[in-house]
Symmetry: C2
Subunit: 454 residues, 2 copies
Amino acid sequence: MKIVILGGVAAGAKAAAKAKRLLPDAEIDLYTDDTHVSYSSCGLPYYIEGNFEDYQMLLVRSPEEFEQKGIHIHLKSKAIKILPNSKQVLIENLEDNNSYLVKYDKLIIAVGARPIIPDIKNVNLPNIFTLRKIEDGINIKQMALKSKKVVIVGGGYIGMELLEAFVRQNLDVTLIENSKHVMPSLDDEISELIETQLESINNGRFKILTSELVTEFCGDLDGVKAVYTNSGKCIDTDFVVLCVGVRPNSELAQDAGIELGETGAIKVNEKMETNIQDIYACGDCVEVTLVIDGSKIWMPLGSTANKEGRTAAMNASGVEDKFYGVLGSAVTRCLNLTISMTGLTEKRAQALGYKTISTIITKYDKVGYMPDVNNITLKLVADEKSGLILGAQAVGAGDADKRINTLTSAILAHMTVDEFYKNDLTYAPPYSPTIDPLLNAAQILTSKIKKLNN
Amino acid sequence: MKIVILGGVAAGAKAAAKAKRLLPDAEIDLYTDDTHVSYSSCGLPYYIEGNFEDYQMLLVRSPEEFEQKGIHIHLKSKAIKILPNSKQVLIENLEDNNSYLVKYDKLIIAVGARPIIPDIKNVNLPNIFTLRKIEDGINIKQMALKSKKVVIVGGGYIGMELLEAFVRQNLDVTLIENSKHVMPSLDDEISELIETQLESINNGRFKILTSELVTEFCGDLDGVKAVYTNSGKCIDTDFVVLCVGVRPNSELAQDAGIELGETGAIKVNEKMETNIQDIYACGDCVEVTLVIDGSKIWMPLGSTANKEGRTAAMNASGVEDKFYGVLGSAVTRCLNLTISMTGLTEKRAQALGYKTISTIITKYDKVGYMPDVNNITLKLVADEKSGLILGAQAVGAGDADKRINTLTSAILAHMTVDEFYKNDLTYAPPYSPTIDPLLNAAQILTSKIKKLNN
């Protein structure tokens, strides 16, 4: 039995380890165009921030550890063609440009995603970076250490995490977002709140420009020097990081006749099988089911990739396993703020055809007399008629991350707001007010729904 | 319409405020033998610890605020007899010892609980305290400020919270628990872990003695001087706090013909009605339903009291509302440790007749390279056959409180471990490992259950 895995960051690395554990005698070969394998890509902003000095902390398992387990790791080896009929993959050695064919019994595609490079004049100037791989992190950190000013293009998760990292590195930071607000995937009130709350702790070290479009980079062979925007701004900078999103690496699969989904990522079933026999796919290159309504979304995340890699490996190894999908849960930190969500935002729910009802409250995260008390703002969204919880967003300097997970369970269980209000959450002054903000919001929304349906 | 409320800490105060909001024209009178009304009893250990200087921070609403809303507060006024036939209550003014009768249309009993005074020789010596009311807190704090040594009798929630408070006040603390372990309501492995983890950060300032029984207090009219135990120890001390539990104040109700439950606390239905018409009861003097199996338990907690007070007031005011019960959720902090639980412990589940299966894991609370990473230990208990989640306990220096709430939703929804494993929890390096300990535990327990049932 020979299992070939393409890609080795989260899903691929997990799949390799799991398959070897299930089938100790199988030959397992992992090919990646990367120079590293099995690392925490999500940790790169924290490395740049200086939370730890050695980037090797980001490595989960080294190639040597894989080899010791009998898993062969082929770095700088890019899969350039899959031949399903002969069950082979064409691999190109990126060091000597030689290509060779590899046979497989089972193939697991985990080739991930790549940063989008926006079509902006001079985007290829030196010192304009994207952040995805270990090298990107090392390069950006080196640049940050010798710079005074940086421009971040894009205010999504990575952009906001880099804002924190660069502010902590004492750089002058300008973040430019072309949408109306940063974190544009969230509802407007929440995004606005993020902006006002960040502004309230701004020490003059960072600027957030919204509804602003980068029109041109300006510089020379030494690198980018300034960023021009559509409103006529010219922002001097020492370097730029582009964080305008990622795109699934689905071309290799598509070229082999593997079906893509409506999102443009690879289509798989619950067993992570593609439409071609013996070919599985997992991680950031596949689309997932949104458990709430069964729709397909593309939401690349390390935690999801990990689970999918496990499921793909189990099925490829002959042990049935299923991955049912996601709830759209995510969390990030930007300076003192935690930003967290699960399920559908109100705008997304409405776009999907739901008639929504919602409430937004700002409350203490613990009892008011505790010295470290802080505010959190919570938005709870439900279906107007049934009262079914559709999603929640939380933001604040207070404890806003794990509270959202209390709702992920509720959404997974298809609970109504009314049912959730019966919850018995833990209470003690250092951890929560007598009535937790979650219950507070549920109570308000329950009353609203009752009034409406009476 | 006249609503009379007996007791005014959490449930009574909440009931008064809610009833007035619903029935602005009703006459609402609240009688309490206490010198304060509407305060956070749970906050007293944090006041003693010095988290804030003014005990008035503990007051939610002052008697004046109640009066402004038209609610009459009668402090130091003890209800000594309820006369259901004539719908009257006999009140004794504790200042002048005069008694008088008060008419009611609806009566809400919220007289709470009182500390158990163990039957130990010389237990009535000066400077032996219990902690329940504001005065207790003020007295203990004054004593702590002028003392060097203290003995805490009892290692439950309050005992552990006071251990923290006194250690932070730089006292030499000895905590004596007669059970095998502190926090005896938890499973043994968890209690043991609490002891070892606390010992590992012990700077010589505190001693925890378990399986040790206090046999005698020794002292004179100036106060207690030493504590003797059954193993022959004699512990010098400046003062003692007894934390051996509380008991519901159910005598007044029983004397009036109100039915008590099997737990000895007042029996109520979901509308917080007693067996006598127009008499409601709520807060620490009533028993509650454990939602998991419908059994009755007595679990006095401020958060529960608050909800019950609201429900009692609504029904007394003619607006139907139900309180369905609790899941047994609780949390506390002792120094660097968070101790949290929901549902049934394994021993309690077994005592109730469940055949249980469980797993206990110790994991990082966030990704290992984050500077503030810490361990948490999580025990997950399920029904062996059905896989239904029965309960969970968490302890650790890491983020162990809100994670338990993710499981309260799951228990409320009657989820199996397998279903819970499908959960999509938020992930980012500052908040959780790629695979959250909750999912880790669910995965292990799912495999165990599958193996067993195959």
